[in-house]
Symmetry: C2
Amino acid sequence: MAGSGYATASRRRILDFLKKNANRAVTAADIDSHLKENDSEVNITTIYRYLDKLAGEGTVMKYVAEKGGKAAYQYVEHGHRCEEHLHLKCVGCGRIIHLECAFMDEISSHIREDHGFELQCKNSVLYGTCKKCQKSISQ
Amino acid sequence: MAGSGYATASRRRILDFLKKNANRAVTAADIDSHLKENDSEVNITTIYRYLDKLAGEGTVMKYVAEKGGKAAYQYVEHGHRCEEHLHLKCVGCGRIIHLECAFMDEISSHIREDHGFELQCKNSVLYGTCKKCQKSISQ
DNA sequence: TTGCGTGCAAAGGTTTTGCATGGCA
DNA sequence: TGCCATGCAAAACCTTTGCACGCAA
């Protein structure tokens, strides 16, 4: 399924980590340190190459809007049509919320009709703070 | 006005270019090549330092969501409260549209009430294609 | 004169590329 | 066997920092 190429141990470990963290976006460095902690290091080059492959296949979403210029990747659940809705990303915990609601259509209609702008959901990410992180900040 | 520090020739040239391109976001490299073309080169370090200063003052907006990890900066017209509304950025020409309309409030209310997410407009940029670029593509 | 601005060089960090080796199918 | 995946090293890329000099006020 995920991965048109060969199934290797390295790829399995990377994909496992992505799936376990399907509710948030992780960086190549996150994957690298996770694997190192588990004594199953995979070369960082390999991680980047595989992530690039997965992003090309649509298996992961790639977000390029990180502070330090760090790219973040998130596993995409089967059936999610991430090019058709916007995403909210929490600056606290990195969690991604898929804006799959009727209101989403209103947003893109308004922007198209009133601003003459054709929205491209891919790469369009709204930043902010999720409920959990709002609480932990105010505590 | 723009610039609490010394008024130098370098800074004047950088600010001039930013003002002339107030309708779009430019990168440090854009400024660099523009100045080189006009035989008035300013060291890239100086450009970065001045842009950083201007961004701190609020004279320019800094966008960190560029494809190659390149940061883009845009001159902010006096009176624009860019932290209170979202921005649309055209992937074709780099033009920025300020979403200063009543609908903007609806978006943030919906996201807050239905998704428990507090929107942070700074750094939240929606990508897409503006009217002009849609036409030039279809031609 | 004082402190800010500048340029150069070098470092920093993330990501990409070349090349030879190793491994899956 | 044939192609793909991997690791290492090095490069590319954007951006920041240290230090000495120069210039605005």
